[in-house]
């Protein structure tokens, strides 16, 4: 609100100057004032919108938690055994609940990244460790999808200066996508290399690939290719947008190469930090 007050004071000061000007100069200054007023209004609306999304998302999480927990108790048989039909219905309800939780989490993440209100402290972290942790989290999912995950870490510590949770978010998003969009029997290979002044993580899959027509849209919000929708109808097209925003904020890059039907390789590049963890 300090900025709004500052601009209002500026407008008041300029109004006084306008009174002492000729007609054309006065018109110019008046236009400038109108633009500044519109700008203030937009900034205020933007702040209100962000606050609304943030509060709404937090409030939505509470009833979602109760739904998720009670559905899980039913599935666990804590309240008595369900018959197969009841189990199917509760299972579907729970899948929708988890999907909604994921959407709310993504919206909060997007809002946070766009506002950039909190700068997370950067510390030396070993990317080898985070990649290993992230891959381990997907052991069950990869087994369920019958996808083999190979991990090839750098022989020396791959240190970067960054916020570990942000880097983890990036890795989890990319690895999750690779497994999700690789058909049964396929392979996902995650490699970490230290090359000159960079730490490079590549996630290569033998999955469905990205159609050429969609390549320039994959980092945009709510963007999903048709072949991706067929494999996973539940996505929202926010994951890669979040990845690109985080990589921007970390001063790194994300790029990809892909051939539809053959697979994709996503490459994350971070600046190598030569200090210790």
């Amino acid at each position: 609100m300090d900025r709004v007050k500052e601009l209002e004071n500026e407008i008041y000061r300029l109004n006084a100057i306008v009174d002492s000007m000729d007609k054309s100069a006065r018109l110019l200054v008046q236009r400038d004032l109108q633009l500044r007023r519109a700008n203030i209004k937009l900034e205020t609306l933007d702040t209100q919108k962000s606050e609304f999304i943030s509060i709404a998302a937090h409030q939505i999480r509470t009833p979602l938690s109760a739904l998720r927990w009670s559905q899980q108790m039913l599935l666990d048989g804590d309240l008595g055994e369900l018959n197969p039909r009841q189990r199917d219905v509760v299972s579907l309800a729970q899948q929708s609940t988890v999907r909604l939780v994921k959407l709310v989490n993504n919206l909060l993440e997007v809002e946070h990244l766009e506002l950039q209100t909190e700068l997370k402290p950067a510390l030396p972290i070993n990317i080898n460790v985070l990649v290993k942790e992230s891959c381990d989290e997907f052991i069950n999912k990869a087994t369920e999808h019958n996808v083999r995950v190979l991990v090839d870490l750098a022989p020396t510590p791959a240190i970067v200066l960054a916020d570990a949770s942000s880097v983890k978010d990036v890795l989890v998003n990319i690895i999750d996508n690779a497994i999700k969009y690789t058909l049964a029997g396929g392979t996902v290979t995650v490699r970490v290399k230290v090359v000159d002044e960079s730490v490079i993580v590549t996630v290569e899959d033998t999955g469905i690939g990205i159609p050429i027509a969609h390549e320039d849209k994959i980092f945009k919000r709510f963007s999903r290719a048709e072949n991706a929708k067929k494999v996973d109808a539940d996505g929202y097209g926010l994951g890669l947008y979040i990845v690109s925003k985080i990589m921007d904020s970390l001063g790194g890059t994300v790029r990809f190469e892909s051939r539809e039907g053959l697979g994709s390789t996503f490459t994350l590049t971070f600046k190598h930090h030569t200090g210790s963890v």
Binding site: H58, T62, A66, R68, W69, S70, Q72, D78, N105, E118
Partner: protein, 135 residues
Amino acid sequence: MHEFTLTNKTIYLAEDDTFLASVIIQKLEMQGVIVAHFVNGEECLASIEKTLPDLLLLDIHLPGLTGYQILDVLASKQITPQLPVIVISNSGQSIEIERIQKLGIRDYIIKANFAPDEVIAKIVEALSTTTNNLT
């Protein structure tokens, strides 16, 4: 070596959403836990000062005394080192997590992101660590 059990452990639950609280209580009671539920911060703090539970499950956004204020009081009275606290919240904002981590809590759970069994696992972890430390 025997398996750690929650039977007869006392847990105070400070949660103002009664439906969510009832789900947590059912899950805990099935493990043999004795649960005392509080919907506001004042009653929860008064009970802690009277009798220490084995663990406190604390929502941050409570009516009256907030979770932050309760943690402040517990820290100032040197209660926190003896009482494992797991914060359950739906905010997940890093500023909140950093603030409460400084107040000596054992764990932080974003409720919507966890299944009940995972919450129980965190409680077991917190209590078994405490027990090990004491023995």
